[in-house]
């Protein structure tokens, strides 16, 4: 399955680029990411959990950056596996960054392969989930790039994954115990504008 889109972030390309490689920030950008650790310059590993329709997904993954052209281009390959669900996922991500008047234009392409029991669930669930991922990712990345407290730490840092702070604005994930109020499920304010922009641009 191919997914591609593009969006704009109000920050310099070099800054966005650095942020994308910072596990401390990325763990907050990737919905359900519970651990993320950088092993060396090009390798990461972590764990991601999620739930949809009473199916709980809990996958360990390893990611490798296979192409890197600072500050314009990243290609990464992620391989994950949920042992319990007998399913594996392979995601190939292409990211291209370009400076614009507003900051940086980011175009991405993902090729997702989902094999095993989860793969049988069909495209709609995966597409829908990736849309949520996308939404959260953009919102968090924007915050991280624009707000000073998110300034990424030294890129060589290897650290234990911190528990992500509860995110105020983004769509609540389908958490088992939360009682999502209807109003909060719609993005508000500047994020809504951003979202509207990125939807239009497709």
């Amino acid at each position: 399955m191919q997914i591609s889109s593009n969006f704009t972030i109000a920050a310099q390309t070099s800054h966005v680029f650095g942020t994308l490689l910072d596990p401390k920030v990325m763990i907050k950008c990737i919905q359900g990411c519970e651990e993320l650790e950088r092993i060396d310059e090009t390798h990461y590993r972590g764990r991601i959990t999620n739930e949809v329709a009473h199916i709980k997904f809990n996958a360990r993954f390893a990611a490798e950056i296979t192409e890197l052209d600072y500050p314009n281009h990243i290609r990464a390959v992620l391989n994950g596996e949920d042992r319990h669900l007998g399913s594996s996922i392979k995601v190939t991500i292409l990211l291209d960054l370009e400076p614009t008047e507003e900051g940086s234009a980011i175009a991405y392409q993902m090729e997702i392969a989902l094999w095993g029991k989860l793969g049988r669930l069909g495209e709609s669930i995966v597409r829908r989930k990736s849309l949520e991922f996308e939404r959260d990712f953009i919102s968090e990345l924007s915050r991280a790039c624009v707000q000073p407290e998110y300034t990424p730490g030294p890129s060589s840092s290897q650290q234990e994954a911190p528990t992500p702070e509860p995110v105020q604005i983004a769509v609540p994930p389908a958490a088992p115990t939360s009682h999502p109020p209807a109003a909060a499920s719609r993005p508000i304010g500047w994020f809504a504008k951003l979202l509207a922009f990125f939807r239009r641009s497709r």
């Binding site: 329709a53 009473h54 199916i55 669900l85 029991k117 495209e123 389908a174 009682h179 999502p180």
Partner: protein, 282 residues
Amino acid sequence: MNPRILRPESLADACALLSQDEDALVYGGGTALQILRKQGILSASSFVDISGIPGLNNLHHTGNELLVGPMVSIRRMETDPVVRESVPIASAAYAKVANPRVRNTATVGGNIAHGDYRLDPPVALLVLGATIKATSTAGTRAIPIDKFFIDFQLTALNRGEIVTSIEIPISNDVVASTFVKFSSLSANDWPSASAAAAIVARDGEAQILRLALGALAPTPVMTAVDITGMREAQATEAAVESAMLIMDPLPDVRGGVEYKRNLGRIAVENAVRNLWRDRQSV
């Protein structure tokens, strides 16, 4: 491993069981749950089967409301003369669910709680403005149907809550109503687009067209258009325009986004045509 099956005999016991175990699930007819279980992807420790609780399969006409217990079968909603007469589009939508085998087993409560974006009955219930009653150890609350479907496969029900009834208003103001369903593969398949619509009279002359769509967005969705004084063509145009704004179809093996939007448009056009025909014949 297979979930344990628990069979409480009272609502209070059922609520207690659910509150004690976060991974327990309410078991209605099981037509949705069994599929997930058999595919080995369901995360549930136990099924709380509520079929032994007295009173949950009652169907009650109060004069201005139809009170439907969660364990009433979908087949009964299709065939019961009271339902057919008082809320014909609900009956029509329940009649279009899957096949008789599924309709005999599946329940009204399980259907709505399933929360799938393609379900047929919720589309009719949206147009009719139904209310869902949900009970847990914390008490009972009423959820208006337009607040019930929150996101893809996500309803307003909290863990531990049981749908204990669906209240469907019976209104003399409904001038005409219709349900249209299109599937793209076999005739018995899930819909690729569905639409329920009703013309509701307001304050004498004013007329509102209530329109709900299924399978065309991550949840069933609803809109309303003031069609006072409009002719069929104008009303169709207004309805389509409004419908297109709330469509956000998901591509899958049954069709891509453009195809589904097109089918959705036709479902709305057909729905308005049916309404006009029915309204004339009244």
